[in-house]
Assembly symmetry: C2
């Protein structure tokens, strides 16, 4: 029925106008700025229905309408067209990300790029350890009874741990240990490394047994536990830009939640590389995020996902634009890390 369709069109217009102007939008302004082909009065009727259904609301009795979380949700699910990036933006992505020297650099550039592209807070998760594979294990003796263990993954991530050994370590044993560990672990996915550790205890030559036991314990912690899924955050200055309206009172709780990382990390756990996931306002169970929206997606090659990235901003954000930017950046980063 044309009737229902126009009503959705009205909702779309409201969202678009409100996002770009940050003012509650009234029936008259809507009729002027969009070719809806009907008069303000008709739009008012539609708005009344939309409000009854919970898609929009009015801040005060005599102000225009503002989308609710539910309204944004409908907009994102059914009303927003994919918004292709401009050629300039595509070029910016390449120019920005190429020439990164190591993983840290890639992620640092990514977060700055995303923040700049979307003018929101950007968040990038370090490649999750358990999904990567061991490329190399390095053992360095830093003192008589102290070894430094360095793990290099095929995503370029480096983890290090100091291992205190009960007895002094024979210098000659270190290269042996290194060879042993590498032949056992090279190429093994971190999530599956736990079994190997116990296997190694038995097959190791006798004179290395003690050492392997000690090192193995630390290795277990490092490999198996998803100990620190780190997060890189950037563009927090963007929060302070339109703040007054966007975040009621203060944005302190939001900043705290971002620094806390754990909340965002949990959300990142749900991402997947094929679809951009949008969480709007109250949909985020966590209180501090209830006034914010997240646009996230997984990155990685086709066969495995490495981690997630995305942006955080006020519910009043440019969803189509941000979704496009997030997806494009994730694709590029995925390729970059897959080939290295």
């Amino acid at each position: 029925m044309a009737h229902d369709e126009r009503r959705l069109e009205v909702l779309r217009a409201i969202v678009q106008d409100f996002v770009s102007t940050n003012d509650p939008v009234g029936s008259k302004a809507l009729a002027e700025r969009h070719d809806l082909g009907v008069s303000p009065a008709t739009i008012r009727n539609d708005m009344a229905v939309l409000e009854e259904q919970g898609y929009i609301t009015q801040p005060h009795t005599s102000a225009g309408r503002v989308p609710t979380d539910k309204g944004y949700r409908l907009f994102v699910d059914r009303l927003s067209a994919v918004k292709p990036l401009s050629a300039a933006e595509r070029r910016a992505i390449e120019r920005f990300l190429d020439g990164a020297v190591d993983l840290h650099d890639v992620l640092g550039r990514t977060v700055r790029l995303l923040a700049q592209l979307t003018r929101q807070v950007a968040v990038v998760q370090y490649p999750t350890l358990s999904r990567s594979a061991v490329r190399h294990l390095e053992v360095v003796q830093v003192a008589a009874g102290r070894l430094l263990l360095v793990l290099i993954t095929d995503t370029g991530r480096v983890e290090q741990r100091v291992v205190d050994c009960p007895a002094d370590v024979d210098a000659g044993a270190v290269p042996e240990l290194r060879t042993l560990l590498n032949s056992a672990f090279a190429g093994v996915k971190l999530g599956e490394a736990g079994d190997k550790v116990s296997g190694l205890m038995e097959t190791a030559p006798p004179h290395l047994r003690g050492l392997v036991a000690t090192v193995g314990a630390t290795l277990m912690e490092t490999l198996v536990e998803p100990s620190e899924d780190r997060l890189v955050i950037g563009g927090t200055a963007n929060l302070a830009r339109g703040s007054a309206m966007d975040f009621p009172g203060t944005m302190q709780p939001l900043l705290e939640a971002l620094e806390e990382q754990v909340v965002v990390l949990r959300l990142m756990g749900e991402v997947d590389a094929s679809t951009v996931l949008v969480r709007i306002g109250e949909e985020n169970a966590h209180e501090a995020l209830s006034g914010a929206s997240l646009v996230t997606v997984g990155y990685g090659s086709a066969d495995r996902s490495l981690g997630g990235l995305g942006v955080v901003g006020p519910t009043r954000m440019d969803y189509p634009g941000n979704m496009a930017a997030v997806r494009a950046v994730a694709r590029y980063v995925g390729h970059l890390l897959a080939e290295s």
Copy 2:
């Protein structure tokens, strides 16, 4: 002259009251809250002089007085007693920092600790590469013509670079190269490594020459250039706490400057482990920092400084408290990194 001394006492009282209440302080309130032994009228006279000398100012004709940057400066230089940390705080430092597993973890904990202790934005510089020494160099072949170079410093910092070689690398050459590099560089201070690289070109066995040349070039970049003096920042949520008054309008420029890092890094270059450096408001040449104060100090062992750390906040901050916290944390971190 007792006269002058009391005037300074008045300034101290003004700073203390203003810092704790965030309200311009008037003569009457001062007389009540502090035992200055004189009447409000006398204090008014002193205030008039202090204002003429530029130490305080009044926001409006009929409001109390507020310290100027110059006033804070005098306070910091001559009026503030060292404020020892409470036993609880000392314990918090130890409990918080012990149990860190690697360098990244140490710095992450440090920045959180400082932010929590001072309720300001905390900033910690990664140990500057040029002041550290090489502990180990690792070479890993990740593809036929591609090597991964991992540098481990004695401060526990790890740097990695991918090296693309023009020709395929013989697998047997990798261990040789590793041994060669380590015997040449182990223990060498990074700042002095440049000479070694050129020396190495000549002394290397003929079949490794080409490889050494390629790897050497990358090594030079990594070792000699103070490429990325990274910064860890935390507690930005503290900026949003008292914001309204503390930062005129928006704190966006300050957040941007912090993310930019370069401004703060330059300031960090001037620190030294023996004295806590305080920069107040306009003393920071940079515009974005003109409304903020920095309290910084170097950390490291007695014989060499590794980097700087500190806090950033509104000029209206608890200088003695922050100075004490910054110094105490720097000492502890210095010890921690020196022994590892």
